[in-house]
């Protein structure tokens, strides 16, 4: 079983998945002829190349074993991703400040040391910095707090 968990085998599987995905999503694109190539010629060619390369990488990995993939730690990647998504959702509806607070708070929860006063201090500093750089410096059109400023 462990040889299916090597970095190379999984990488090969990922390449195959991208190849198949691109073939499926690009199925309606007309390939055209080699003189007058349609929009689908290059995408199809690249998809097949991905399938072949992915196949070679994973087959070689099955025979040679290779380095095992490390067990991922879920907390940092999940928290960071949730933080950015929360920022995206809050930014236009409520403004920059609430989005900033959400991002910094959630992302800080992803680290292994969490002290509330530090996070609050960080939020204060970053808020001032962002207002100075983006609002004053670059005069970007972002509301700090929707409807207020």
């Amino acid at each position: 079983m462990s040889r299916f968990l090597s970095k190379d085998f999984l990488a090969g599987v990922m390449f195959i998945a991208f190849g198949l995905g691109a073939l499926y999503l690009g199925r309606h694109l007309a390939p055209g002829t080699s003189v007058r190539m349609g929009p689908g010629w290059v995408p199809h060619a690249l998809s097949y190349i991905m399938l072949v390369l992915g196949g070679i990488v994973s087959v070689i990995a099955l025979f040679t074993g290779g380095e095992q993939v490390e067990a991922p730690k879920w907390k940092p990647i999940t928290m960071v991703t949730i933080g950015i998504v929360a920022f995206a959702l809050l930014l236009e509806s409520t403004g920059m400040f609430p989005a900033l607070v959400a991002l910094v708070l959630i992302a800080s929860l992803g680290g292994d040391e969490f002290k509330l006063w530090e996070v609050v201090a960080n939020i204060v500093v970053l808020t001032i910095l962002c207002i100075l750089v983006f609002k004053v410096g670059l005069s970007m059109n972002i509301a700090v707090l929707n409807g207020v400023w």
């Binding site: 970095k7 190379d8 999984l10 990488a11 990922m14 390449f15 991208f18 690009g26 694109l29 002829t33 080699s34 003189v35 007058r36 190539m37 349609g38 929009p39 010629w41 290059v42 995408p43 690249l46 998809s47 991905m50 390369l53 070679i56 990488v57 380095e67 993939v69 490390e70 991922p72 940092p76 990647i77 960071v80 991703t81 933080g83 950015i84 998504v85 920022f87 995206a88 959702l89 930014l91 236009e92 920059m96 989005a99 900033l100 991002l103 910094v104 992302a107 800080s108 992803g110 680290g111 292994d112 040391e113 530090e118 960080n122 970053l126 910095l129 983006f134 670059l138 059109n141 972002i142």
Partner: protein
């Protein structure tokens, strides 16, 4: 005296108050991120790409270039003082630099590395000036088939020098090319892989992709492992002894030459230059046993090499429009954002930008010596800022930067998505740099390929009938065959193993 005339034009552009200011900002930011471990020039430039949209083209390129070579200076400071390489390119500097610092020679090591870097930067700039025009003139003779082959060569060469498995790196290039297809097909207007999302119809924006792949993934990987820091060493006298200077000079010159040559190669750049220079010094030294115990040459040569390489890696990007590493790919992106198509036309159509950027590199190098030597104490203080303060700040700048591209939260979500993808890449041992190169070159390569095929009436023979294209393809093939030879394969693996430890 065309060259002279061009240099004067360049200097007059670079010395304008605004451009001087942006060069300074770039150098400061570059030094800062060079000093701070956990964030490199690729992530920083990706983060700042959206901001450059608000600046004039010349100023924005000057600033981004400053970040790139500033990072080389900053990285060496932390290597010497705390045995912690701020950048990949200064990993070797740690070996002898930190030993020198422990023997009380920290100041001398810093001075030698800064002056060596300055010398290398100056030579690198002169090399760019000398080679820019002939290369550009050559590139203007290229037809679509030649361009397509040139890009193939650039991509393959980048793969050869990438870390890790060649096969996986090639697959990553193709994956990048595939992502580059997203958007409206130039020839027919058909929508490809756009999912009816309006933001995607102009093509996938690669600033958010670069932020996700390099910024977010890097942060996550850093959060996973605890960062430990050793105490900084006090700097006393900055002056090297006469003996140290005597040993350092020749090493600086050798490092500059080697770095300058390796920087031009696609996929080369500062890291490769620094490693090769260190190996060379150790090999030709009459007393190789001193290396690893504080040999001056072990600091001087790699530091000169990484800076020379950082300069000369601009050559293929500026003259041919072909980026040789991830940072140059982002520079190409910055030009495209400004509406400039990188390639041989830049020099003839935008001489002020072209020569201004080159002249500013030399000025920037001069600034860096000043920023680095007297202000060393300030940079060291920054090292004491814990990473848990830094990571949310970097995330925040990525998020706001992505939003400001087109005032659209779609790009912020794109950063999150590519962050996850970048994390998967890291876990599976796939390099992000070949992917980025493929992504940047993809759209152009497809256009040239289709145009070449149309001109030849569908005969793929055009790629081997034109002498320039044939020569480039043969070089590409030779590179690929060389990689498969067992001897070279082993040497390459060894080189990268040294890099990882």
């Amino acid at each position: 005296m065309d060259l002279f005339h061009n240099l004067i034009l360049g200097m007059s552009v670079a010395l304008s108050l605004q451009n001087l200011l942006y060069a300074l900002v770039g150098c400061m930011v570059g030094t800062l991120i060079g000093v701070l471990p956990g964030i490199g020039p690729v992530a920083t430039i990706a983060m700042l790409l959206p901001i450059t949209f608000h600046l004039p083209p010349t100023a924005s390129l000057i600033m981004l270039a400053g970040i790139y070579y500033g990072a080389q200076y900053g990285g060496s400071t932390t290597s010497i003082l705390v045995n912690l390489p701020g950048e990949a390119s200064s990993v070797v500097t740690c070996i002898d630099g930190y030993q020198m610092a422990r023997q009380g020679r920290a100041g001398a090591a810093l001075t030698i590395s800064a002056l060596g870097s300055f010398f290398a930067g100056t030579v690198g700039t002169i090399v760019i000036v000398l080679f820019a025009e002939p290369l550009t003139r050559m590139a203007q003779k290229f037809g679509p088939a030649d361009y397509c082959s040139l890009m193939a060569l650039g991509l393959v060469a980048a793969v050869v020098l990438a870390n890790g498995s060649v096969l996986k790196a090639i697959a990553m290039v193709f994956l990048g090319l595939l992502f580059g297809l997203v958007g409206t097909d130039v020839n027919t207007g058909a929508q490809r892989f756009t999912f009816d999302i309006p933001e995607l119809s102009d093509g996938i924006d690669f600033a958010p992709i670069a932020m996700g792949l390099f910024g977010i993934a890097e942060i996550v990987v850093n959060l996973e492992r605890k960062m430990s820091r050793s105490g900084a060493i006090k700097v006393t006298s900055l002056w090297p002894t006469r003996e140290e200077a005597r040993r350092a000079w020749p090493a600086v010159i050798r490092g500059t030459l080697l770095g300058g040559i390796l920087g031009v190669l696609p996929g080369g750049g500062p890291t490769l230059g620094a490693f090769s220079a260190y190996t060379l010094e150790k090999k030709i030294s009459r007393t190789p046993e001193r290396f690893g115990k504080g040999a001056v040459e072990g600091v001087a040569a790699p530091e000169a090499a990484n800076n020379a390489a950082a300069q000369t890696s601009f050559i293929p990007m500026l003259t041919l429009g072909i980026p040789s590493n991830a940072v140059m790919a982002l520079m190409v992106g910055a030009m495209i954002i400004q509406g400039i198509q990188p390639g041989p036309e830049v020099m003839t159509k935008k001489p002020d930008l072209f020569w201004g950027l080159i002249a500013s590199m030399w000025i920037g190098n001069l600034m860096l010596v000043v920023i680095n030597l007297p202000m060393i104490g300030m940079w060291i203080k920054l090292l004491t800022v814990p990473y848990r303060f830094l990571s949310p700040a970097i995330l925040l700048f990525c998020a706001i930067g992505a939003y400001s591209l087109q005032n659209s939260t779609f790009h912020v979500l794109q950063v999150a998505g590519f962050g996850v993808l970048g994390y998967i890449f890291v876990r599976l041992g796939c390099e992000g740099a070949p992917f980025l190169l493929g992504l940047v070159l993809g759209p152009q390569m497809e256009e040239y390929f289709r145009r070449a095929m149309l001109l030849s009436r569908g005969n793929p023979g055009v790629f081997i009938e034109r002498p320039i294209s044939l020569g480039l393809l043969i070089t590409t093939a030779i590179l690929l065959v060389l990689m498969a030879l067992p001897n070279i394969k082993r040497a390459r693996e060894q080189a990268f193993q040294e890099e990882e430890t």
